[in-house]
């Protein structure tokens, strides 16, 4: 089952995603390597990731805060994305059970 609207949305999402991915390579030689624009682009990835996770952690319950701490500790101990993710899931699962939150 698919509606016209959802097909349009998926095709549109696919088109902009492909355009951006190809566009980065095609524009690479023209992108400024110095100045404000370059500095701005350099800071986007970290800022977007911070903006993605902050509301879930900072406005979360103690379970989310404990899980974020566990994720951070395991990441610095192992430098392993999967281990850090697994620790976060495990702690949030246990904390919600124990704290009932």
């Amino acid at each position: 089952m698919i509606t016209t609207a959802s097909l349009l949305a998926i095709l549109g999402m696919a088109a902009v995603t492909l355009a951006i991915k190809a566009g980065g390579l095609l524009l690479a030689e023209r992108l400024p390597t110095t100045g404000f624009a370059a500095a701005w682009l350099r800071h986007i990835p970290g800022a977007v990731l911070a903006a993605l996770v902050a509301p879930a952690i900072l406005t979360g319950k103690p379970a989310e805060i404990a899980a974020a701490l566990a994720t951070t500790l395991v990441w610095f101990a192992s430098r392993n994305l999967f281990a850090a993710m697994a620790a976060g899931i495990l702690v949030v699962y246990l904390a919600r059970r124990l704290l009932g939150a």
Binding site: A14, L26, A28, W40, H43, V48, A84, Y93
Partner: protein, 241 residues
């Protein structure tokens, strides 16, 4: 078109296999949150066909997660979904720009097609190789094809399992997303210069999330944080001169 020599073909496949092998551990994490996405997609009301098409054509984890927030069957905000995908994927401009050395003049057209298979994971592995003086388009593609297969298989599995797992939060699965991006963020730490932009991004995102529903906190936080970072960097460079 000339047929590639057997040795050239062998070299392609050995690089392809190397790239896939390098991405294997991180693809376990890709699959883990692919399943989560599939489960959430079912709750958001996406059909199996919609899941296959979105994973197969969009193939962008964070954009697909954001899309679920906005997915309201019956009154789908098509423009907002496309705009959010554009904004969330903006980072790929930077990522694929760094792959330019892999594609000598004349092969950039083919390279642009290969960019469809770039993910955060195989990109990171490939620039790691390039820093050691290695790295080929085949290496990039090997990781990309593996990530694509994992993402497709996992999202479909999650969509089908959705019947069994009605509430991923009951298993802590909702936190996989936050934990993965938190770990990715921590991996991006390059020094004190990151502190202010990240704090600005986080605070702007929290404030926006309270005021406006949907994914705008990512856009507002991302823009505020990155602009703050750029302003500070330019001012530091200016005062050092």
């Amino acid at each position: 078109m000339e047929k590639p020599l057997p040795s050239a073909r062998n070299r392609f496949w050995s690089q392809f296999t190397l790239g896939a092998r390098a991405c294997l551990p991180v693809c376990i994490s890709v699959a883990a949150y692919g399943v989560v996405w599939g489960v959430l997609a079912r709750q958001a009301g996406l059909s199996l066909l919609e899941v296959v098409l979105m994973s197969g054509l969009v193939f962008a984890g964070s954009a697909q997660f954001v899309a679920l927030d906005q997915w309201t069957p019956g009154a789908l905000p098509v423009g907002a979904l496309v705009l959010a995908a554009l904004i969330v994927n903006l980072r790929y401009l930077l990522l694929t720009a760094t792959l330019r050395p892999l594609f000598p003049p004349g092969t950039v057209g083919r390279g642009a097609l290969a960019m469809a298979l770039v993910t955060d994971e195989n990109w990171a592995m490939t620039v790691g190789e390039m820093a050691k003086g290695r790295g080929t388009p085949a290496f990039l593609l090997g990781g990309g094809v593996l990530a694509y297969a994992c993402w497709m298989g996992a999202t479909v599995t999650g969509r089908l399992l959705g019947a069994a797992i009605d509430d991923p939060a009951a298993y802590g699965l909702d936190f996989a997303f936050t934990a993965t991006f938190l770990a990715l963020l921590l991996g991006m730490w390059r020094g004190k210069a990151d502190l202010v932009p990240w704090l600005v991004a986080a605070l702007a995102a929290v404030a926006t999330a309270r005021l406006i529903p949907g994914s705008w906190h990512i856009v507002v936080g991302g823009l505020c944080g990155s602009l703050a970072g750029a302003l500070l960097e330019i001012r530091r460079a200016g005062s050092a001169r």
